[in-house]
């Protein structure tokens, strides 16, 4: 009897306040949305299976690394910014780019409630917060898209292909490629012979090979290879002993 009166009373009170009890009214209705999501996951998993590649081979330097899709922006942000960072000659301060900036970004995310302190909650009346959100979303979107594009590009351009497209018109490796005349004119009357790269790994250190690829000397044109491709070519060429 008491139980019955009690719940009647409560129901009236809740109704007047515009609230519902957590159980069962709220939870069961929210469960409809939740279970729809789980059911969608279940059905999707039946039809689309994740792929399992070859077993890991640490010696496979030609493999183009691919992060999980939600980390593409991290990898691409550091690829792109790292390129300009070293262009600016700041390699000595790599820790600023690779440690300080990420830590500051994470801190900025943590501290949002402490710099957006006004009582205003509507997004359009919080211009700074709104701007930061748009900036963040654009940042994530741009580097994710760029990362995926860059990855596909690199997969298509494995080092051998890069060599055939960018180097083989002048250089040869074990008799493949190379300029039939063997000469490049630097100035009237002066010629440079593009060296045979069959044993380049024994002659130049990886750092020297990188230097030559990025800032060529001795008549070789600048190939403007993307940073990841330079990494591949350095690995590849320094393995030619």
């Amino acid at each position: 009897m008491y139980e019955h009166d009690h719940s009647e009373h409560k129901a009236k009170e809740y109704h007047e306040k515009g609230v519902v009890p957590f159980w069962p009214e709220h939870l069961l209705k929210e469960m409809v949305v939740g279970l729809t999501a789980v059911a969608a996951l279940f059905v999707f998993s039946i039809f689309v299976h994740p792929s399992l590649g070859h077993i890991a081979d640490p010696a496979d330097w030609a493999y183009v690394p691919a992060p999980d899709w939600y980390f593409y922006w991290v990898q691409n942000f550091f690829d792109v910014s790292g390129y300009y960072w070293s262009e600016l000659g700041l390699t000595k301060y790599d820790w600023v780019l690779m440690f300080l900036i990420p830590v500051l970004l994470i801190l900025a995310l943590y501290l949002v409630p402490f710099y957006d302190r006004s009582r205003e909650r509507r997004l359009l009346k919080r211009p700074v917060a709104f701007g930061l959100m748009l900036f963040g979303l654009t940042f994530l979107g741009y580097f994710t898209a760029n990362g995926i594009y860059n990855h596909d590009y690199l997969v298509a351009q494995e080092p051998i292909t890069i060599f055939q497209q960018s180097c083989a018109s002048c250089h040869s490796i074990q008799g493949l490629g190379g300029n039939a005349k063997g000469v490049v004119a630097v100035s009237p009357g002066h010629f440079v012979y593009p060296p045979d790269l069959t044993h380049v790994g024994s002659i130049l250190s990886p750092a020297q090979i990188r230097q030559q690829l990025v800032n060529p000397v001795g008549g070789m044109p600048n190939l403007h290879l993307p940073p990841a491709a330079v990494d591949y070519m350095v690995n590849y060429l320094s393995s030619l002993k």
Partner: protein, 223 residues
């Protein structure tokens, strides 16, 4: 019958007040998708929690057949896919579940942000929420290595190499995380332990905090 059982239990454990507290706590009607369809935006957090439970279940079953060492990690993953009853389905759900959780967490966070929910008095719960986001991303990162295929190995190599840039302790930190100076057998067993033991404990603790704080502060009203 049920009433008698509850009375029997209450005489020993006094569970009724706890249950009444959970069941009767008022939730604003405007967060309920049956009141207004647009209220589904309030469900992203709850859906994430439900998906986390699904990850726990599928993960437990996967751990029955998975072996975290460098020769058998790959082979046992293949075995799960090809020979275990519903193994392919389990693996698939665990894999896509992580993707769906990332999407839901992002939507949840965006909702909190655009509605300005993190404002006083809820600042502390935002801190817990960002920590939960980082924990979930670490779940994704450590789980990615476990199948031990090329994709897994090289992505982990790139990811772990970032810690080398931490000033002063970078090298030491790399050795701690990778279990040596390269990604290898020790890394795999470490990542397995982190993925199935450390992170779930952390996740549950912070989820507990997250929910306690929601109870304390209530759900934000309309503007």
């Amino acid at each position: 019958m049920f009433t008698r059982f509850v009375r029997w239990l209450d005489e020993r454990m006094m569970v009724s007040p706890l249950w009444r507290d959970i069941a009767d706590h008022p939730v604003p009607a405007h967060t309920n998708p049956s009141e207004r369809v647009s209220a589904f935006v309030y469900c992203f957090g709850g859906v994430t929690f439900l998906l986390i439970i699904a990850q726990f279940v599928t993960g437990m079953f996967l751990a029955m057949d998975y072996v975290p060492d460098i020769t058998n990690a790959y082979n046992s993953t293949r075995y799960i896919m090809d020979h275990v009853l519903f193994g392919k389905q389990l693996l698939s759900m665990h894999n896509w579940g992580s993707t769906l959780i990332i999407i839901m967490v992002t939507l949840h966070m965006l909702r909190i942000y655009w509605m300005g929910v993190y404002k006083k008095p809820r600042e502390l719960n935002w801190l817990v929420g960002v920590t939960l986001l980082l924990i979930i991303l670490t779940f994704g990162f450590t789980g990615y290595l476990l199948p031990w295929d090329e994709k897994a190995y090289f992505a982990t190599q790139v990811g772990v190499s970032f810690v080398q840039y931490v000033p002063f302790i970078g090298k030491a930190l790399f050795n701690i995380i990778a279990g040596g100076n390269h990604i290898g057998a020790a890394t795999l067993s470490r990542f397995f332990a982190i993925h199935v033991l450390f992170l779930p404990a952390l996740l549950l603790s912070f989820l507990g905090l997250h929910f306690l704080m929601i109870r304390r502060n209530g759900i934000t009203g309309p503007y």
